[in-house]
């Protein structure tokens, strides 16, 4: 046990700035409602909520995408399954929020196991496409399930979480925050554990890992299931917060969004997805406003700037925002040591 902890400490040295940044951001989310309360900007609580949920889902996806090198283009499906578990269990009269969360996690774990088992037989572009295909399959399944609202979706009453009364929106905010912190903590341990190191080794050279006597597929599937469960948690919280769920939540563009958030923030970093979600959603809020000031007639067409920004990020931004901060820090340190 002690040896294991020492191992953990040694391994975590390379990601120490990453860790610090992650907890700085999470702490920021805890303090944010105080700021919005005094600045009288309650709307921004909603934005922060969306950032936390999308960030959480992106953190889950990052485990397979960044650390595992498996480019899944269908993780929106797990957000959708998580969200629909809340809706469907309420449809059948189950109002306990903890039960909803449990159903979501179990359902997403099972779905992740099945999809992962089938999809991980392929690799490269084929893997991207088969994950997309499974997501589309589920998307159209929920579109055509008229019982659960079909295309229009279904509205959900806010669930009862026992002692935690969620009629006060701030309580749900903090429930989400606790989940985010738990996910962050779990991922911090997972990526530095033996399992996480193996996953990263598979990314850089799968046959070598196999030659060492390990079965890469097992690690990949496990990673896939964990990430599916995290996305499901985000989806379940999303549904109880919005009090509404529709197939839109699992549209294929959402999978693209998650990928964008990760690459924007920094692949295979802990803080990256959260930082990416902050920048992504702030851009979504700020660009229309900015365009409204410069060219009011085109305020709705903010995506005309957003698209090129994404292309720029790919063309010039290596390593995402965390990479940028890292380089900046490194330069700062070098500058100081010269002085």
């Amino acid at each position: 046990m002690l040896g294991y902890l020492v191992d953990l400490m040694r391994l975590s040295r390379d990601g120490i700035r990453d860790n610090r940044l992650l907890w700085l951001l999470i702490a920021g989310f805890a303090l944010f409602p105080i700021f919005t309360h005094f600045a009288d900007l309650p709307f921004w609580n909603d934005v922060a909520m969306r950032i936390m949920l999308l960030g959480m889902a992106a953190m889950g996806l990052n485990l397979v995408l960044g650390y595992g090198g498996m480019v899944s283009f269908g993780h929106a499906a797990f957000i959708g399954i998580g969200a629909y578990c809340v809706g469907i269990s309420q449809f059948y009269g189950i109002t306990n929020g903890w039960a909803h969360l449990l159903f979501s996690l179990v359902a997403c774990g099972a779905a992740g196991l099945v999809i992962g088992y089938l999809a991980l037989r392929t690799s490269g572009i084929y893997f991207i496409m088969i994950t997309l295909a499974f997501a589309q399959m589920l998307f159209f399944l929920f579109v055509s399930l008229e019982t659960y609202g079909g295309d229009d979706g279904m509205s959900i009453d806010r669930a009862a979480f026992g002692v935690v009364d969620l009629y006060d929106p701030l309580r749900l905010y903090f429930l989400t925050w606790i989940c985010l912190a738990l996910v962050g903590l779990a991922l911090m341990f997972i990526v530095r554990s033996r399992f996480g190191v193996t996953l990263r080794a598979i990314k850089s050279n799968e046959s070598r890992v196999e030659a060492m006597g390990l079965v890469p597929l097992r690690f990949k599937i496990t990673g896939y299931v964990i990430s599916a469960v995290i996305c499901g948690l985000a989806g379940a919280l999303f549904a109880s917060w919005q009090e509404y769920v529709s197939p839109d939540i699992m549209h294929w563009t959402r999978s693209g969004e998650l990928m964008i958030i990760i690459i924007l923030g920094g692949l295979a970093t802990l803080a990256g997805p959260l930082l990416g979600a902050i920048v992504f959603l702030l851009l979504e809020e700020m660009l229309p406003w900015l365009l409204g000031v410069v060219a009011p007639a085109y305020a709705e067409n903010w995506m005309i700037l957003f698209g090129p920004i994404l292309i720029m990020v790919v063309m010039f931004g290596r390593g995402g925002l965390v990479g940028l901060l890292d380089r900046w820090w490194a330069a700062d340190k070098a500058g100081r040591s010269v002085r």
């Binding site: 995408l65 480019v71 283009f73 089938l118 999809a119 037989r121 392929t122 490269g124 572009i125 084929y126 991207i128 496409m129 088969i130 997309l132 295909a133 499974f134 589309q136 399959m137 159209f140 399944l141 579109v143 055509s144 399930l145 008229e146 019982t147 294929w252 563009t253 693209g256 990928m259 964008i260 690459i263 692949l267 085109y298 067409n301 995506m303 005309i304 957003f306 698209g307 090129p308 920004i309 994404l310 292309i311 990020v313 790919v314 063309m315």
Partner: protein, 307 residues
Amino acid sequence: MTMTLILEQTFNGLQAGVTLFLVAAGLTLILGIMDFVFLAHGAQVMIGAYAAAAITGATGNFYLGLLLAIPVTFASGYLLEFLIIRHLYQRDHMEQVLATFGLILFFNEVIRIGFGPAALYSDLPPSLSGFVEILPDTPYPAYRLAVILAGLVLALAIHLFVSRTRVGAMVRAGANNPMMTAALGINIKILFRLIFATGACFAGVAGMLLGPLTSVQPGMGEPLLILSLVVIIIGGIGSVRGAFIAAIIVGLVDTLGRVFLPALLRLVIDQAAADGAGPALASMLVYILMALVLIFRPTGLFPAKGS
């Protein structure tokens, strides 16, 4: 009555299949030869449809619209490759997904600003707006028939080009092993650009042909893009022949599944359950097909890459 319905729906499936093939033909080469995940191919469909609709609207002549829109789509593909895509070949798939996703957003917004968010409807020329009797007492819209014919002619042309010409041989060699092809002294950069522009052109033609059948609106190419990705994966990345066969299969399965699957299910399970499950299953059918193909043949039906 049922025979008529089956025949009619088979023709509709064929029409969906050939238009899918036009989108997939270029995309399969882009994926296969350049190993490039190009999601903005749907935007090329949209550009083609809008170009044709705009030129038809301005000149009043449908055929002139089609004819003049072709160089527009070719130019847009050529420019896109030259300005952006060629810088991204060396990047990994994820970054390509991200950049081309950005392109989708950009193109949709450009079209929205240029033509407004509402859908355009273009009228059919009088010569194609009637019906043709494909069998005695079985009328079928002339325009859909024309689309099928045009698609088949283009498919034949693509097939002959790829299998019989010198450039076609280069394309096949490129799909099989791009590095070796370049080492044999073939200017693979120019080849890439031409494939890209031609592929964009075919996608544009698909958009033009579909214009009068569906609504021409921003984002119209995206459902078609997803379906053509399914086609490409089923057919095997980089294989034009595979794309054709898979496109026809997907077109038929999708169209016929939607019409007949609920009825077929009703024979097996009780009506209420069938009415619920039928449409759900029908809309999932092509994706189930793709997943099955990938599970049993992980590189598609006709893989182009040498092993």
